[in-house]
């Protein structure tokens, strides 16, 4: 990294900050519109074109709302918790490149806050700091629902952190570097066939699956939003929060969706790389930003679809899925990835062998997921073991979750 003028670091930090803040604002609006569509409603449509300025208005409104601090809370920690969430959320974006190289006022630099040499670990570290926000919010509220929601949410987050860490590990094994820039660069070439993108999501498909499930659970989004299962825990860890402090939690939650999508795109979908269609240099620098935005939006849309389509998971199943399926599969896959890398180095792997191995691996993982999920249905609810139960699983799951699960578990 060469020496830059003093304004460059400021520029990088502020551009990324504003970029993610804006994307989060758009996400909140888009989610309300899309979920409304899925439920045959209109959603916000009054302020601005298609209601697009609704988020801005809501944000301003939040300032003028009463910020109630209940009497029994532990004040310093109560204020600290939302701050930790927002700050950790912004910091985890620090290593994500949102575009390619740009030249401004004679300075050429990549559009990333900083390409740290331990980049992917930085993302995981910020995720583990984020747990404190949830835990401390629950603890400092000193009130039953938040306490239960906080402990439950933090147990969920740490469980899926392992699965995510293992998925990231196989990306690092495949790339051989912890630097996010190297991981993006390694995916920019051709994949298995010429013309096919060299995305990690294809080569490391099981890791990609694990990461996808993990990111939904980490972000605490439906169907894994057990932390704020409103039927049983009211608002979860932020029940006692109101006004701007609540606003900070909401911002952190939605920002998490954006961050997780951005990390996913960076680690598994080649980040900002993509074809430039032979555009002249003067315009070509826009294309990486365009590709990054398109890919990230696709994942944000995926998050929204999940919320609109799926009922909430049950907590004991959530924990079993994490520990019994994702962790062992992730560990084995990391070793398999290493074996693939070594075989590749010895050029044993021709295209045919690769495809065969890929199909075999996909079948194996599918079988593992199937076997891992099947017996739980049988012993999950010991007192209703009729075979029809499994068939009617999907529609009944939400109801049963509410019946079987009381507060605190």
């Amino acid at each position: 990294m060469s020496e830059h003028a003093l304004w460059v670091p400021f520029f990088r930090a502020i551009v990324v900050f504003v970029y993610f803040l804006l994307v989060t604002a758009v996400l909140i609006w888009a989610e309300r519109r899309i979920v409304a569509r899925m439920q045959a409603r209109l959603g916000p449509n009054r302020i601005g074109p298609f209601g697009a300025l609704q988020t801005l208005v809501d944000g301003v409104k939040m300032f003028f709302k009463e910020d109630v601090t209940p009497a029994m809370v532990d004040r310093p920690v109560f204020v600290l918790a939302p701050l930790i969430g927002v700050i950790a959320g912004f910091l985890s974006m620090a290593v994500i490149p949102i575009g390619g190289e740009v030249t401004l006022f004679g300075e050429t630099f990549t559009l990333v806050v900083s390409d740290l040499n331990v980049g992917v670990l930085w993302i995981l570290a910020m995720g583990s700091i984020h747990v404190y926000s949830v835990f401390l919010a629950g603890w400092s509220s000193n009130s039953p629902y938040p306490l239960m929601g906080g402990v439950r949410a933090s147990a969920q987050m740490i469980s899926y952190e392992i699965a995510q860490g293992l998925a990231v590990a196989s990306v690092v094994i495949y790339t051989g570097s912890l630097r996010v820039g190297d991981i993006v660069a390694a995916q920019s070439g051709d994949g298995l066939f010429p013309g096919m993108p060299g995305w990690n999501a294809i080569v490391l498909f099981p890791a990609f699956l694990i990461f996808t499930i993990g990111m939904v659970a980490e972000a605490g989004r439906p169907p894994f939003d057990l932390a704020e299962a409103e039927g049983e825990l009211v608002g979860g860890f932020h029940t006692e929060y109101s006004g701007m402090k609540f606003g900070m939690f909401m911002l952190a939650e939605f920002m998490n969706v954006v961050t997780m999508s951005a990390i996913m795109v960076t680690l598994f979908f080649g980040g900002p790389s993509g074809p430039t269609f032979g555009l002249p240099d003067a315009v070509a620098w826009v294309m990486p930003m365009f590709w990054f935005f398109v890919k990230m939006s696709a994942f944000i849309f995926f998050f929204i679809l999940l919320r609109g389509a799926l009922p909430r998971y049950r907590y004991d199943r959530l924990m079993s899925l994490g520990w019994k399926v994702l962790v062992p599969v992730g560990l084995v896959w990391a070793l398999v990835t290493a074996a693939i890398v070594l075989l590749e180095e010895q050029t044993v792997l021709t295209t045919e062998v690769r495809i065969g191995l890929g199909v075999a691996a996909a079948v194996l993982v599918g079988a593992l997921l199937f076997v891992g999920a099947a017996p739980e249905d049988a012993d999950a609810i010991p007192d209703e073991r009729d075979p029809q139960d499994d068939a009617a699983q999907a529609p009944g799951a939400a109801d049963r979750a509410e019946n079987a699960e009381e507060v605190g578990t």
């Binding site: 670091p9 930090a13 009463e66 912004f90 000193n142 392992i162 701007m244 004991d316 019994k324």
Partner: protein
């Protein structure tokens, strides 16, 4: 080195200023009309009953945290290995294979003892 971390520091300062600033501004312009009901714990409209300070949590949360710690350390060992295992070839893979296999014993034991059950 410091050039790498300076933008991160700036981002941290900006994010902190944004978050803390929002809270300060809202506390200045927002109304403040406390009453006993608002200031009490929220229990769906009932009189607050729970004595939360002396309640204890089930031990399985401790077990989850303990397992998290152990597997977190294992994952952390994977990273330096991931970066260098190429230079050790199959011997490197065997090392990590043994490591994972030993931990696999713990995992299987736990599975068998029902340590992963949540009911």
């Amino acid at each position: 080195m410091f050039e790498e971390y300076l933008p991160v520091l700036i981002l941290a300062v900006v994010a902190t200023a944004f978050a803390a600033g929002s809270l300060v501004v809202s506390s200045l312009v927002g109304p403040r009309v406390p009453n006993p009901t608002k200031l009490s714990a929220y229990e769906c409209g009932n009189e607050p009953l729970a004595e939360i300070r002396t309640t204890r949590f089930p031990i399985r949360f401790y077990l989850v945290a303990m397992l998290f710690l152990i597997f977190d350390i294992e994952t952390v060992f994977l990273y330096p290995w991931a970066v260098v295992f190429r230079s050790f070839g199959w011997f490197g893979l065997a090392q990590m294979g043994v490591f994972v296999a030993i931990l696999g014993v713990a995992f299987v034991y736990e599975f068998g003892r029902g340590g992963l059950e949540w009911d």
